[in-house]
Symmetry: C2
Subunit: 234 residues, 2 copies
Amino acid sequence: MTLDGAPLDLDVAQPALLFDLDGTLVDSVYQHVISWQEALAECGIALSVWRIHRRIGMSGGLFLDALQRETGELGVETLQRLRRLHAEAYLERSAGVVPFPGARELLQLLHARGVPFAIATSGARETAGSALALLDLPPDVPIVTRELVERAKPDPHLFLAAAQLLGMSPRHCFVVGDSVWDLLAAQRAGALGIGLLSGGYGLDELERAGAYRVYADTAEMLVRLEEVGVRPAR
Amino acid sequence: MTLDGAPLDLDVAQPALLFDLDGTLVDSVYQHVISWQEALAECGIALSVWRIHRRIGMSGGLFLDALQRETGELGVETLQRLRRLHAEAYLERSAGVVPFPGARELLQLLHARGVPFAIATSGARETAGSALALLDLPPDVPIVTRELVERAKPDPHLFLAAAQLLGMSPRHCFVVGDSVWDLLAAQRAGALGIGLLSGGYGLDELERAGAYRVYADTAEMLVRLEEVGVRPAR
């Protein structure tokens, strides 16, 4: 009962989960990083690998915008060539890419318990396809790739689209991601963010980007699901 | 003059610099990380890439000890095979490895000004050789590789050996490294540590490991050398 005698309104929705893909569900960040370096080197652009790593997870467009601030204008042809070379270099390496420990189990548990979830990646469908195939996703899971929205992370569009496809308000969603761009986009979308260390960023970077909680990887998140309001299997 | 009338003793030595190699002077960490993953996968051991990244810069022996805590005892043959597979995989990738921006210029400036410096790496001479060749080192620079000491980082032996070869007390040396293992080994050796972000670790991780200063990379360190008592060229 409230002070005025009316019943309390405590209808808190079961949260939905909006997952990033690379570095969050599949162990592909380092292959993407090296592939970008190789593509850039082929175009005569020297960029240290750690600087690429710190940009991964942004939209490719923003990544290339940031790059051009350092290199000067690259021209449409070079930009297209970079994207193509990156995709080729990544697909060559993608045989070594595996799901993170606990990733498939986590998604299966959520599915079994009826917890809505979606995948929202800054990646293109072409490079995301092989990663998605590793996850044995149920057929009804919404998947939002770069092509479906005007702007990618750290803009909120990918996560807003994923929430809408689930029929959920972003306010009732947790974004799960490995990069600061995921967590910044979560804030922009009005959702809480869960950071995972599995993309190779530091705990502090993820906390400073607004993470509600940070876990090592999907395996740790699986055993701590009650912290985000999902009860684990007993 | 001191209180008792004796002259002040302010004979502070010009500091010497003890450099780590991979991730500090050459951009090779991500290639090492992927090469370890490939070697481990060939031996049937699945380990997430970020966990390998967080161990890089330790001695290979400690890295494999840490691994065995997770996998159980691997046996001498598997351990030898892992080292060999890693070295092979790395040498295949080493064509893409370049010095960091400012690395050669920094070493040349130190040499020109008579500032003593050495290189101390947890790596084996076999894999370090190609990286060292990129740096155009003066012939008199002491180089300490894994084979020369009983224990590698985070034990202090590599840096103690490097300081001794320079004829310096570790107390008058700065260790320059990209990983927490460099900075922990610096503390053990009684030297101050300078962290560089170029190995892909977060600022906070390096500060927590005791860094006196943290710079982005050798290019930034070059323009801030006065902060460690070396005056830059005007």
